[in-house]
């Protein structure tokens, strides 16, 4: 590796860390707003930041993303404004969906984040159609759909993978296996550890990667994206990770095995990356503190923007129903 390549790689890792810190701070802000009674329930992605950042940063601007109820990481990694996401979650008119989505199904057309569904499996049902649109255009863009291990137990998972394989659609399936399906542990509902074992049977490459290692995720995602872009065929990437907070806020996680939670907390993707970057000198403590201060400031300013934003007017209740 040349010195230049080393510098670029270090700065990419530092950039990933800053995005992950932003996601974490955003989610904690959402949870705090919920605890304060200012917003309704939200589903946070705390613990899954490496998966979101590693995959989304492997995409190009013209690629299309479908996501789900646990979307803040994907949106922020894609460059969404935390202020407008928080405004959306707060039901404010300045939100990306005019406050009509709330936290559960935020789409941002201008960023290529199309069709978020909060129905578990809904995002999977829509993804082949987005791939079909792309397959009929003169483009090398691909569709990427994020879902969890819970969605993999839905019948539509099998329908979606099958049609994407049979029709050769440019869809990257990203299963964020966070071990939890609402309030039920994955081990109660499936006899496989890795959803990729199922996916491989449909006739597409299926790979599992350590979802808490952002650089490993990014490397695997780059391979996956390149495959889909080049071959115009689907690919399955499973990021094996853990949902560190509850299903929704508030959630005391009384049902979570303490040892398991502690074990995954010790593999926190942010702490791990910080330690590595500090350890090999890619980042100094001062730089890290500056980074954290920037993130804090960005989220405080986002919260202030959301707080100051107006609610939608009542006529918005019945607009955008029909085209």
């Amino acid at each position: 590796m040349t010195i230049m390549e080393t510098v670029v790689e270090r700065s990419a890792a530092a950039e990933a860390l800053e995005t992950m810190l932003t996601i974490r701070a955003f989610e904690e802000q959402s949870a705090a707003l919920n605890a304060a009674g200012k917003i309704g329930s939200v589903c946070t992605s705390v613990g899954q930041e490496a998966s979101a950042v590693g995959v989304v940063s492997a995409l190009q601007g013209h690629d299309l993303i479908l996501t789900n109820h646990r979307s803040a990481g994907h949106l922020i990694a894609r460059g969404a404004d935390p202020g407008r996401i928080l405004a959306e979650i707060s039901g404010k008119a300045t939100g990306y969906c005019k406050g009509k989505s709330g936290s559960l199904h935020i789409s941002i057309k201008e960023l290529g984040v199309v069709l978020t569904s909060t129905i578990v499996g809904g995002e999977l049902s829509l993804a082949p159609g987005v791939g079909l649109s792309l397959s009929m255009q003169d483009t090398d863009a691909i569709a990427v759909v994020f879902f969890g291990d819970g969605a993999a137990t839905e019948g539509i998972f099998h329908e979606a993978l099958n049609i994407a394989a049979v029709w050769e659609l440019p869809v990257l399936f990203v299963c964020e296996n966070n071990q939890w399906q609402a309030f039920v542990h994955r081990k109660e509902t499936m006899l496989t550890d890795h959803v990729s074992e199922w996916a491989g049977k449909f006739g597409m490459p299926a790979v599992t990667v350590d979802g808490n290692d952002v650089e490993a995720v990014n490397a695997a995602a780059k391979d996956a994206v390149a495959y889909v872009r080049r071959n115009r065929k689907p690919y399955f990437l499973e990021t094996y990770t853990y949902r560190l907070r509850g299903h929704l806020e508030p959630d005391d996680q009384a049902y979570v095995n303490k040892d398991e939670l502690a074990s995954w907390k010790s593999k926190d993707p942010i702490a791990t990356l910080e330690a590595r970057l500090l350890g090999d000198g890619a980042l100094t403590i001062i730089e890290l503190e500056e980074m954290k201060a920037r993130v804090r400031e960005a989220i405080e300013s986002a919260a202030a923007f959301a707080e100051a934003s107006p609610y939608p007017s009542f006529d918005e209740m019945t607009t955008d129903v029909y085209a």
Partner: protein, 320 residues
């Protein structure tokens, strides 16, 4: 004018729209198998067979519609829509609103229902009112070959998801279809027969039953108007109110069961907005609250009959 069956009218409409707009694609169970001419003209990318999996057919249509295509999907029989409710109702119907108007879902979902083939309750279930109750969707259910053609063309051009019901009993019925680009607007009812004493309001094959009843009533000196709704959502409230304000009596006739059905909605509209004009109670003649039987005599008896319409109209006439 050309005479053709409903089935031929639909195929002609689809071919014309595919010729007119390269974004129109068609897929579903057997769509390519049965539409060989469509495949020959438009190619296998635009005309596709699918797995027997209604959920992913409808979901794929919704995803494609939101990103630039205009899919027409064939889900075969209406009860199969239960497998596609999530995608049609939660995605196609709601995601425009949820996204604050960022996306639209120009797609058409075709499904067959009604008595005629003895296929039983899992292939024959007039569940159209479920979709009328779901925001963001349009619902049509034509009665003539001309309307099947014209409404399918409108549905394909519409920027909203349209659920297009085909009454099984009408599929091979011939009818006259105007030449050229025959387009029938969604949301407009048609007066099939003018009259002054009672309005018979219906859609799909029972429109023809109403016309037969109106002819029988004419022999008894009762002048019945027959209104064919054609679209169930949006409902042509103006046409309903105009007719019933003129006649003062209304009988709503449909094959679908009564509870919370289209007839219930129309009765409520008439009571709310035309109460002063009513000379007799509004009557609903509907299929029973029971699954449709496969046995031909039972299946046929499920559908409201002309005699019952005539009797109800005569009872209404006796009120004043």
């Amino acid at each position: 004018m050309k005479t053709m069956t409903v089935d031929q009218a639909l195929n002609e409409a689809l071919a014309e729209e595919m010729r007119r707009d390269p974004r129109v694609i068609a897929f579903g169970e057997g769509v390519a198998t049965k539409g060989i001419q469509l495949v020959e003209e438009f190619g296998p990318k635009r005309v596709r067979n699918t797995p027997l999996a209604e959920g992913i057919i409808a979901g794929t249509a919704a995803g494609a519609a939101a990103t630039g295509l205009r899919p027409v999907i064939d889900l075969l029989f209406a009860p199969f829509l239960t497998f596609a409710m999530e995608e049609i109702v939660n995605s196609a119907g709601k995601l425009r609103f949820i996204s604050g108007g960022q996306f639209s879902f120009p797609m058409v979902a075709i499904a067959r229902t009604g008595a005629g083939w003895g296929v039983g309750a899992q292939h024959n279930h007039n569940l159209e009112s479920w979709f009328v109750s779901s925001p963001g969707l349009k619902v049509v259910m034509p009665s003539t070959a001309a309307d099947f053609k014209g409404l399918l063309k409108s549905a394909i051009r519409d920027d909203n998801p349209v659920v297009f019901f085909m009454d099984i009993g009408l599929i091979y019925q011939p009818g006259e279809v105007p030449d050229g680009d025959h387009v029938v607007p969604i949301g407009k009812a048609a007066v099939r027969r003018e009259g002054s004493d009672v309005t018979l309001i219906s859609y799909a094959k029972t429109v023809h039953t109403c016309v037969a009843a109106a002819e029988a009533l004419a022999e008894q000196g009762v002048s019945a108007e027959v209104l064919d709704l054609r679209s169930l959502k949006p409902l042509d409230e103006d046409a309903i109110l105009a007719s019933v304000k003129k006649t003062g009596r209304a009988i709503v006739v449909h094959e679908a069961a009564g509870p919370c059905g289209v007839g219930a909605e129309i009765s409520a509209i008439l009571v709310e907005k035309a109460f002063g004009a009513l000379k007799a109670p509004v009557v609903r003649l509907t299929g029973p609250d029971a699954p449709a039987a496969a046995s031909f005599p039972l299946e046929a008896a499920y559908v409201p009959q002309s005699d019952a319409i005539v009797a109800a109209a005569l009872r209404g006439m006796a009120v004043h």
